[in-house]
Symmetry: C2
Amino acid sequence: MKLYDFPKAPNPRRVNIFLAEKGIEIERVPTDLFKGEHMSPEYMAKNPACDIPMLELDNGTCISQIRGITRYFEASNPSTPMMGTTPEENALVEMWEHLAFMNGLLAVAEVFRNTAEGFADRAVVGPHNYKQLPELAERGAQRLQNFYTDFNQRLADNEYVAGDFYSLADITTLVVCDFAKWIKEDIPASCTHLQAWYEKVSQRPAVLANP
Amino acid sequence: MKLYDFPKAPNPRRVNIFLAEKGIEIERVPTDLFKGEHMSPEYMAKNPACDIPMLELDNGTCISQIRGITRYFEASNPSTPMMGTTPEENALVEMWEHLAFMNGLLAVAEVFRNTAEGFADRAVVGPHNYKQLPELAERGAQRLQNFYTDFNQRLADNEYVAGDFYSLADITTLVVCDFAKWIKEDIPASCTHLQAWYEKVSQRPAVLANP
C-alpha cells in the first residue's frame, strides 16, 4: 500500500495528521504538485481526478479524495476512532467536517486558486482547465470571515468541532486556519474561542509532526 | 426522530432515495424552501447552517448536511448497506460520492444559484448573503459538461458509479442528472454509458417513489 503525498499542501496534510493520530505508518511516494507531477500520464492513469493525496492499495485499486482515503483507514483500522464512536457522533463528524470543508477550505481555495500566478487557468482542482475568476476570489475572502465567526460560535459551546471529542472535523478546521495564512489571513482577534481551540489542537503530537 | 424535508429540492431527494433504499420510514416535517421557512428563527436555532434536510433526534441533537444524515442511518441501520461493505468499498463510495457532489451537484448549483431570480443575493447555501456571480454560472455550465464526460467514462468500465455495487454514489449522480434539467441541461447523446446507467437506476422503486 502506498500514499502519493505532497506534505506541504493542505489536503495531503489532512490525511497525514489523521494517519499520525491513528498511529498508522505507510509507504509514501513523494509527488510534487508544484512540479506538476500530478498531471503526468502515469499518475493520471491511476487517478483521473489528478489530485494529491492518492492511496494505491496492494491489489491496484486507487482511492482519491480525502473522504475516500480517511474512510479506508477508519474502516480498516477502527482503533483510535477519528470519526466518532456512535451513530450520533459519526453523523456529527461528517456534518462538521463537511461544513469546515465547504465554508472554510473551499473559501480559502477560492481566494488562492483564483489569484495565485502559478494557477492561471488552473482555478479548479482536477484534469480540466478553468480560468481564474477575480470575483470568486473576492467572495472567498468574504466567506472566510464568516467561517471564522461561525466556527468561533460553535467552539464557544463545544470543546471540539464535532462536540466533546476530537475528530477529523478538528483536523480539517485546523488545516483551514493554517491554509488561510497562505493568503495572509488569520483568526480575527475577536474569535477568542476559535483561537483557544486552535492553540490547543496545534499542540497535539500528530499535528506538531505534520507542520 | 423527525426529518425536516422539502422533497422537490435535490439535496432532500438524495436523503429520501437513500432512506427508501434502506426501507426506513420516519416522521417528516415539511419545510418550504421557496417560502423561506429554512430562514425562520425557530429553524435556524436548530440548524444554523439553515439548509434542508435536517434530522432532529429524539434527544434534541440536530444533524444537517447530507453526509451527516446519511451516515447516521448507515451506522444505526446497517442492513441494506448503501456505502459498501468492505473498507475498500466504503472508500470508493466516499470518493465517488464526493466527486459527483463537487463536479456535478456544485456545478449545477453554480449555474442555478447564480442566475435564478429568486436567489439574488443568495448565491451560496447558508445563513450569509452573497451576490450572484454571472461568471461563476458560466464556469458551472462548463464544469457540468466535463462531469457528463468524466462519469460517462467511469460508467464505461463499471456497472455502478463506485464499482460493481449500487450505493449512495449512484444516488447523488442520479440527482445531479435530474437537477441539471432545472437549468435545461441533459446527458449529451454521446454519453451512452451514462445514459444507459441513468435509465437503469431511474427504474429502481426507491427512485420512482421519490421523483
